[in-house]
Assembly symmetry: C2
Homo-oligomer: 328 residues x 2
């Protein structure tokens, strides 16, 4: 395990190529407006390759005054499968633009977001849901150039959430449900998303001339879900939109616990299309949205903002899709 001396610097490359450090910098960042003959250029590139040279991020950041780090803040509430995949996509999409994603789990024990932003010196900070004004201010003060989504804008994610809820409800209604229920997580912290989705459901009900959905808080326990089912039944609910697949599966378990079945006694629809959704009894009807697409778009918004450009969101390409199975 020869921990070989030290990494090579642009100085080393310059020496090896027989040019100055400046020239090396010009070549490697292929700076426009410089006249560098092909021969020299090749010599530098070759030397860099041979020495396995990689610019020192901190030095570059310090000199250039901006880093290529993007900080993603995720609420501490156990990140669900949907979020994981989104992070995954965002990471690769940003990588393609030369940016590196650092994810930070915001929570009680961890450091505060602006602190982290300052210590990693991120040039952009991204969240899943909009930051409040105070935090946004603090982030700018901590050195962030770009903060997304901003307090006012709901962010594409917010809108997406609403259309997800709408899609759920519309499908249940199309299947003949006249009274809908909504399975809402007991955990706080998901509120942002929850509210968006619930709003979508309520909207669809209103549009169809139905009463607003009967909201019940549900935990990921059979007993919990079972009680919720009882209450829904007594309210005449025949179709339930769940916050996500995990809660939908809980509702399914609750139904089983009551000796009932989906969709016969109550239709159930989730969100996310997690791997086990198709394995549920009965296989879960759900909403999938193209995280790949979402991650890519978010990444582009970040890149655009960093470049100072205004990024016009491409109009809802790759929106949420219904995945009909047997639970609704």
């Amino acid at each position: 395990m020869t921990r070989s001396s030290r990494r090579s610097t642009s100085e080393d490359v310059a020496r090896a190529a027989g040019v100055s450090r400046t020239t090396v910098s010009f070549v490697l960042n292929n700076r426009p407006g410089q006249s560098i003959p092909e021969e020299t250029r090749q010599r530098v590139l070759e030397a860099a390759r041979r020495l396995d040279y990689r610019p020192h991020a901190s030095a570059r950041t310090l000199a250039a005054g901006r880093s290529e780090l993007v900080l993603l803040s995720i609420p501490d509430t156990r990140l669900g499968p949907g979020t994981s995949r989104f992070v995954e996509e965002l990471t690769t999409a940003l990588t393609e633009h030369g940016l590196t994603l650092v994810t930070h789990l915001a929570g009680a024990h961890g450091r505060l977001l602006p602190d982290v932003c300052a210590t990693v010196n991120a040039s952009a900070v991204v969240g899943l849901s909009p930051f409040d004004t105070e935090t946004t201010e603090a982030l700018y003060r901590a050195g962030a150039e770009v903060v997304l989504p901003l307090p006012d804008s709901r962010g594409d994610l917010g809108d997406a959430m609403e259309s997800v809820g709408r899609l759920q409800a519309e499908y249940l209604i199309s299947q003949g449900c006249r009274v809908l229920g909504y399975a809402m997580p007991v955990q706080p912290g998901l509120r942002e998303m929850t509210e968006g989705r619930l709003a979508g459901v309520a909207g669809a009900c209103a549009t169809a001339g139905l009463a607003p959905p009967v909201v019940e808080e549900v935990g990921l326990e059979i007993a919990d879900a079972s009680r919720a089912v009882v209450r829904w039944r007594s309210s005449g609910v025949t179709g339930v939109c769940a916050y996500n697949d995990e809660f939908a599966i809980a509702v399914l378990a609750g139904l089983r616990d009551q000796g009932l079945g989906a969709p016969g006694d109550m239709a159930v629809i989730g969100v996310d299309d997690i791997p086990t959704a198709r394995l549920a009894a009965p296989p879960l009807t759900t909403i999938r949205f193209d995280v790949h697409e979402a991650g890519r778009r978010r990444a582009e918004a970040i890149v655009a903002a960093l470049a100072g450009r205004q990024h016009e969101q491409s109009p809802d390409a790759g929106g949420p899709q219904l995945v009909p199975r047997s639970s609704a």
Copy 2:
């Protein structure tokens, strides 16, 4: 959104406190062996607080020659719920030591690990399973001081995997199963973990004087699992250890598809205790391990290694635990 001028530097603090930058540095890093009167010390701290000063990470890294960034490499294979939580724990544990975790999803499209290591200038690189010698070399060359786990050592995770498998098998055997099956994911990339766990299961069988487990590849599809169930039945298998809860739930679905049930026709046991495990039909017996503990221990190993100390692993505190429910 007043993007207020610029972040304050130690120079600003020095000016505000009426001392030199050196003194500020001494105070804030409370460097030992310096005699700084309490009065001055307070003046500096107060000024720093008032100016909302936070040292510039890149500058500090550049000067000190080492960063406080730890890079975690995760295989591209969709990170399961277990991994997510581990990352979560590791993040908070490292944060407590003043280190920041950057997670990188290694995969086909992304940049290579040593590249990323160099660009974020990580001082430690951690993986879930040991890196090969070549990669390790490259990481050291990319500037990493600490690479963990090293090629030779299996790492605590490897050992943990084996004991997980053993625990699964021992429980099924204690429940009266004489021929065991193993549900192995079709995806490659999980191989490391899979093999560890399978080895544990095989070991337990051998110890009990039973034949080695009947391995079947399973995908997360009902049809797939159903076929595996048929094959296991024809091999006389009465208990199945699944790679993790998701695959266990698949097996459960496969049993249902064949009109069979657990544990009557075939006992099933998973790993991870994911949220939906208790919601499965029947509720899934599984193995939970204390990720909290694991993350903390890993973090301590990293910190110790960075400090140049040898870290003797505390002997398997917080090992895997059986969570008996009804599927086995």
